[in-house]
């Protein structure tokens, strides 16, 4: 049945996220935006199981659905997008451990991720010269002669939480000549010798989240820390991104909601000053367009998530949800700037922050251009 209604468990998980977001997180959001990594907020969310929304309760997760996941991400992003992206990446790494990891790997890496023993998880795919074309990555994993250890060498870039993560999921080539099929996935302990954190990027938004480059200089990784068999790393990465795209769509819409709410509040305040902006048609039309695109985008995010819950293929729907939601958020946060008062245009105002935070959603976890390539490929495949 087509109901568009979250079930009771999904509402419960949304409620957990909402109460934490509107409570403790709201008090710290401005500090996070000023650049303070949200350690306390992340640990607080972990205390409610929100670092592993889809992971089993027995391991410290919430055993929720993909719909519950996007509901929760949206709630957190509406209050603090920096915390939301940190939470999203940790959840994504956990999901991959859940889907591809052995019981021993889950015990060693997933449980601490969920309980907050690890501050975060990181996902290392992109490199200085391999972004959208992920299969062209250059990081190598060379197996030792005795077959017990890989040595990882290379540099990863734009890695969210790379400096605070307790586990880093690294994609590297085990067969340099096999293209995408030569990529394998590894669970790397950041305490390993040869691992180092490079530059902390100065970003226009998501200032509370950490974005770093990582260097692997012959980092030894035991074979038991390889996730899945050799050669399926690209598949793991693409699976992660299909789910991740719903999360980023939800994050973008949380940011957009914060922006729209701030504009409505600002307009209402000015209306009380007798300037009647709220009744101005030019303003009203923009509000209508913002609300309509957000609603359509949200339905797309929910659809992709619900299809994933039903075990259906949803690459096309996830790509549509990501490109539509993140571009809607771009439109909403930009339009909000146009409706804002002068005070709202401060970089640290809710509208200013949302404008800065929304931009990267069209870039990370697959740019808008890559989403369109995915959609077109799926269309041609189906035609």
């Amino acid at each position: 049945m087509m109901d568009f209604l979250p079930n009771a468990d999904e509402l419960r998980i949304q409620g957990l996220a909402r109460s934490y977001a509107r409570g403790p997180l709201a008090e710290r959001a401005a500090a996070h935006d000023a650049g303070a990594f949200p350690t306390a907020s992340v640990l607080g969310l972990a205390g409610f199981g929100l670092m592993g929304i889809k992971s089993p309760v027995a391991l410290g997760g919430l055993g929720g659905t993909n719909v519950a996941y996007v509901l929760a991400i949206r709630e957190v992003a509406q209050v603090c997008a920096s915390t939301a992206v940190t939470m999203a990446v940790t959840n994504m790494v956990g999901d991959m451990l859940l889907q591809f990891g052995t019981a021993a790997q889950q015990e060693r890496w997933l449980r601490p991720l969920l309980t907050g023993a690890f501050t975060a998880g990181a996902f290392a795919l992109t490199e200085p010269s391999a972004g959208s074309d992920a299969a062209s990555l250059g990081t190598k994993a060379v197996l030792s002669d005795d077959g017990n250890t890989y040595a990882l060498t290379g540099t990863k870039m734009w890695i969210t939480s790379g400096d605070v993560a307790g586990v880093i999921l690294v994609m590297a080539k085990t067969d340099a000549d096999a293209g995408a099929r030569g990529i394998s996935a590894f669970l790397v302990d950041p305490a390993s010798a040869g691992f180092s954190v490079g530059r902390h990027e100065q970003k226009m938004g998501l200032k509370g989240s950490s974005t770093v480059s990582l260097t692997f200089d012959g980092v030894k990784v035991p074979v038991e820390d390889r996730l899945g068999p050799e050669g399926i790393g690209f598949r793991i990465a693409m699976t992660a991104l299909d789910g991740g795209r719903c999360g980023i769509g939800a994050q973008a819409l949380g940011i957009a909601q914060a922006s729209l709410d701030a504009v409505l509040a600002s307009m209402a305040a000015r209306k009380r000053d007798d300037r009647a902006l709220g009744t101005d048609q030019a303003a009203a039309f923009r509000i209508a367009d913002m609300a309509t695109r957000m609603e359509a985008a949200w339905l797309m995010v929910l659809r992709a998530s619900a299809l994933k819950d039903a075990g259906q293929r949803m690459s096309r729907e996830a790509a549509m949800a990501k490109v539509f939601a993140t571009e809607a958020a771009g439109f909403v946060t930009k339009t909000a700037m146009g409706l804002a008062s002068a005070a709202d245009l401060r970089t640290d105002s809710p509208i200013g922050r949302a404008y800065r935070d929304a931009r990267v959603a069209r870039i990370y976890e697959g740019t808008s251009e890559v989403q369109r390539i995915v959609i077109a490929r799926e269309l041609v495949r189906a035609s």
Binding site: D261, L264, I287, A288, A291, T292, E295, L299, A310, A376
Partner: protein, 386 residues
């Protein structure tokens, strides 16, 4: 959250799609060219139950839900936009208000034959001098004994020529604005009214669009739909539902435009490869498909809201606004992908552009939808703050 159609909804989809593929698509270009009312198609719609999709079986309808109606409207309009609007008006603007506001006498006498397709309906609200400002209408209905006497002219009436049951909105108390308006079921056999100018339109040429002329037309008082003074509410509530139908019509037009453009892009070559393998074309196709899906979700959300008895006005306004403007964008791009062939009648791309355009105007212009949405968004925000 579930995202799956029920067996009945799936059956409605398949029935409508196969009818569209077999009967509507092959005739749509000719219907447009000759401007002929698609009588055979309308007859089949009746046999399929598609003229009263969401009307109870008790009253002669198919007894399906509003989501089924939206699904059927999309598929039928994909086959033929003119047939789509005739179906939409009969379902949303005629059956629906009788179902919601009519008494049993009225249902038995008009709803059943309308839902069965033995009669055809039209809806008369707009006038030469009043469109978006519906309360500014001039047509009067003055009680005289057991009859109302109707005087005035209604404009842009879809199916005006063929319809023989008319939902008429008129001033029963001209001294009042909204509160002086009442709704009537005018039976053309019982109360003959005049058919004025038959419009020559840009698109949806198979449906007739006429003015209706009421010159001392007497309508029995028992034909009044709802209480006196409730007519404006009847009209607005009817249009809330109608917007789902028109949004689905716009979506169906976009669907066929997109499908033809995709197929063309796989056949046509340029610079040594098929144009569908160029990034520029693929980006257009990806955006078209994405917007089509977004519109469908808004429409389904509104229909499900209506089925659940929610206040669905905001959702249907969003669906109508987005789907109609989406349809214009998609049809524009579909024509562009066809190049010169898009501009000539050998292909259908130019017809889709013409057919889509009206969906941004009738049953509430995009501008009216935006006002409705802005107001609802403001109210929702104020409620959340208090």
């Amino acid at each position: 959250m579930e995202f799956a159609l029920t067996e009945i909804q799936q059956m409605v989809l398949e029935t409508a799609r196969s009818f569209a593929d077999n009967e509507l698509l092959p005739n749509a270009a000719a219907t447009d060219k000759t401007g002929t009312f698609p009588a055979a198609a309308v007859k089949t719609l009746a046999e399929l139950g598609f003229l009263g999709v969401a009307v109870d079986e008790k009253w002669g309808g198919a007894g399906f839900d509003n989501l089924s109606y939206a699904i059927a409207m999309e598929e039928i309009s994909r086959g033929c936009a003119s047939t789509g609007v005739i179906m939409s008006v009969n379902n949303s603007l005629v059956c629906d208000p009788i179902k919601k506001f009519g008494d049993d006498f009225q249902k038995k006498r008009w709803l059943t034959p309308l839902a069965q397709g033995r009669r055809l309906g039209c809806f008369a609200l707009s006038e030469p001098g009043s469109g978006s400002d519906a309360a500014g209408m001039r047509t009067t209905a003055i009680l005289d004994g057991d009859d109302y006497v109707i005087n005035g002219t209604k404009n842009w009436i879809t199916s005006g020529k063929e319809a023989d049951v008319c939902i008429l909105i008129a001033h029963s108390d001209p001294s009042e604005r909204h509160r002086g308006i009442s709704a009537f079921i005018v039976d053309r056999q019982e109360s003959p009214y005049g058919i004025g100018k038959v419009e020559d339109k840009l698109g949806i040429k198979g449906s007739s669009t006429t003015s209706l002329v009421f010159d001392n037309v007497r309508v029995p008082a028992v034909n009044r739909l709802g209480a006196e003074g409730m007519g404006f509410k009847v009209a607005m509530s009817t249009l809330d539902g109608g917007r789902i139908g028109i949004a689905a019509q716009a979506l169906g037009i976009a669907r066929i435009a997109f499908e033809e453009a995709l197929a063309y892009s796989r056949e046509r070559s340029a610079f040594g490869k098929i144009i569908g393998d160029f990034g520029a074309i693929r980006e257009m196709l990806a955006d078209m498909a994405t917007e089509i899906d977004a519109a469908r979700l808004l429409i389904w959300r509104a229909a499900v809201g209506k089925d659940r008895g929610e206040n669905f006005g905001k959702h249907s306004a969003m669906a109508k606004l987005y789907a109609s403007e989406m349809s214009a964008r998609v049809c524009h791009k579909a024509l562009q992908i066809h190049g010169g062939y898009g501009y000539v009648k050998e292909y259908n791309a130019e017809r889709h552009v013409r057919d889509a355009r009206i969906t941004e105007i009738y049953e509430g212009t995009s501008e009216i939808q935006r006002l409705v949405i802005a107001r609802a968004t403001q109210v929702a925000f104020d409620t959340s703050q208090s």
